[in-house]
Amino acid sequence: MRNIGKITALAALLLSTAAIAHADTLTLEPGKEVNMVLLPKFLGILVFDQANEGAQEAHKELSNPGKLEFLGPTPENSVAGQIEIMTTATTQKQGAVMLSNNAGDQIAPAAKAAQDGGTKVVTWDSPIPSGEGESIFVAQVDFASIGVVMADMAHSILGGAGEMAVLSATPDASNQNAWIEAMKKALAADAKYKDIKLVDVVYGDDQAEVSYSRALALVDKYPNLGLIMSPTTVGIQAAAKAMQDEGLCDKIKVSGLGLPSEMVSYTLNGCAPEFALWDFRDLGYLTYYTAYGLASGQMKGEVGETFKAGRMGEYTIEADPGRANAKRILMGPFTVYNKSNVEAAAK
């Protein structure tokens, strides 16, 4: 991972020889007072809490005398609640809002107003699709590479040929939609995937019971289905449970993005032989460093700027290949879990 970071930094260095100042690694000065808000999609989901732990760690490390608040909407009010918290943060003159966006482009006007009022908006986990009102997106992994990883897991589980269906979160979750598109592209790009057929995409709304019944409906709808790919931690778990409950694991496997602690039994019993995820603590940590740098005025947030994010090393701001006019910082990598490593990670 460090190496990838260095290579990216090197590439940025080579690309921006004209602006040598940008290629210097910036070390952020600690102790600046900046109030910040970490705004997840909604409260009460383990991965977001892990991101908060990471952000709190960075908050202490940078000895910011300001406040770091973990504020999120309740689940049934996610979209409206996120917009409301964004607006409140603007009127409170917060230094930065760190947003995992669940509101699609609906949040763009509120984010723009925040920027106009001097509040930086750093997105993480899930960006603002149009990039409007967003300073920088801290991408957990390259979205295109998630597509390749999911295609590869499908390839290995299906043994190169078979039918696959996707069980996603909500229809307007911008990260899941981007990953599904990336997977479709990956499947089309390489001839080795030619016998894998993506038959359907359904949405479980990130709720256990909806995901569970959607997974079973897929089984009934496609008699030859071999794999359910679920790029969401709620969906993958519900699908695995549904297959196990109905005794279908021999025929239909589950894969996607999941938490080792929630998936360990399904991986060991063969229902979900392989799945992937990244570290949400690191994501929160890196997001905090980025937002702190921007809000304290030490970073300009321009493409090519390189800075040191504490224990995680150097990162460079680059143009987001997936979204025009948007900027990102790429964290990476992610881990593929299977029988050999899931138990250790689940602890």
Binding site: G44, I45, L46, T74, D220, K241, E262
Partner: protein
């Protein structure tokens, strides 16, 4: 069936027959549209899936019968599912009966708060339960501390119980979870039709003034209806935990509207005083059947499914209303004829 024998049946029974007929028609319709539709598996899917909702709809029906509404049931299900899950995780050897009682009492406690506010503080139920819906959900977010319950941490008896086949005929299985739900619905039905104290619920709902004149303490009746609704939601929370195993703070989200839909489709009058829990049970089955069949119907895309479901519910309710109104008119006409005939005989 001719006009006379149709009129001899009670309106409630007719409504139930009409629901069964509509369910049959919908089954036939989808059988022509979807391959391999009518089989034992369909029964297994629907019966397992309605087991949770049937309990909530029964409680909702009790409340609606008293001219009130309970919007907090979804949050109650979520909270009790999580709390029961935490308890059994901490004490894996706990007696199953105690766990069930814990969930039911917790739900009843939530119902008690609703009932006191509605009956004794005279706040409209839609306001009270709208507030407690948010309140109970926020309590859950607070209580959960961003952790989730996973099926790994639950004892095997709990996870296996809902899917335990009690009766098997080929593919078709009558499972324990469904049997429990049917039993509870049947007991509630017996109580409502046979027990004098339970009949008071109808009296208060159809004519509060008359009920008061008859010496019925309508406040107490409303309070009891809310407590029972909370208790049934608590039991549903237990069933939810057993069936899905993985509980996050979104558990039970939206169940309030689904339970109201099931009751109304099942012929429970939203104006109170009229309806049956058997009807609400059939309504639950009908809504679930339509919902899960639509997922398998290739003609309807993901984005239209909700709209089609809504339209089908509207049609079901409209047909029911027209049918009952027509029947009332026929009955009135017959009463008129009989009266005329009697007059003729006298003179």
């Amino acid at each position: 069936m001719n006009k006379q024998s149709l009129l001899a049946l009670s309106p409630q029974l007719l409504r139930i027959l009409a629901l069964v007929a509509v369910t049959g028609l919908i089954l036939l319709f989808f059988a022509t549209q979807i391959e391999n539709y009518l089989n034992g598996r369909l029964f297994n899917r629907i019966s397992s899936s309605v087991a949770v909702m049937a309990l909530i709809a029964t409680g909702q029906t009790l409340v609606i019968l008293t001219r009130n509404i309970d919007l907090s049931v979804g949050s109650t299900v979520g909270f009790t599912a999580f709390a029961a899950g935490s308890l059994i995780t901490l004490m894996p050897d706990l007696n199953p009966a105690l766990l069930v009682a814990y969930a039911a009492l917790l739900g009843a406690g939530f119902g008690l708060v609703n009932g006191l506010l509605v009956a004794y503080a005279s706040v409209p139920s839609i306001i009270v339960t709208l507030a407690t819906m948010a309140l109970y959900r926020s309590l859950l977010v607070e209580f959960s501390n961003a952790k989730s319950i996973t099926s790994e941490s639950l004892p095997a008896w709990l996870v296996d119980f809902p899917n335990l086949p009690v009766i098997s005929i080929g593919d078709l299985q009558v499972r324990a979870g469904f049997l429990v739900a049917v039993t509870i619905v049947f007991l509630a039905h017996l109580a409502l039709t046979r027990l004098r104290p339970a009949r008071r619920i109808f009296a208060v709902g159809s004519n509060p003034e008359a009920a008061a004149m008859a010496g019925i303490d309508s406040r107490r009746v409303v309070l009891v209806a809310f407590i029972l609704s909370g208790m049934l939601a608590g039991l549903a929370g237990f069933m939810f935990l057993a069936r899905f195993g993985n509980i996050t703070v979104v558990a039970g989200l939206g169940f309030e509207l689904k339970s109201i839909a099931a009751s109304v489709v099942g012929g429970v009058s939203i104006n109170g005083g009229s309806g049956s829990v058997i009807g609400a049970f059939l309504g639950t089955i009908l809504v679930d059947l339509i919902d899960s069949s639509l997922v398998r119907w290739p003609i309807v895309s993901e984005f239209w499914r909700e709209a089609v479901l809504g339209a089908m519910i509207l049609i079901a309710v409209a047909v029911d209303t027209l049918f009952i109104r027509r029947l009332d008119r026929m009955r009135a006409a017959r009463a008129h004829e009989t009266a005329l005939a009697q007059q003729g005989a006298k003179s």
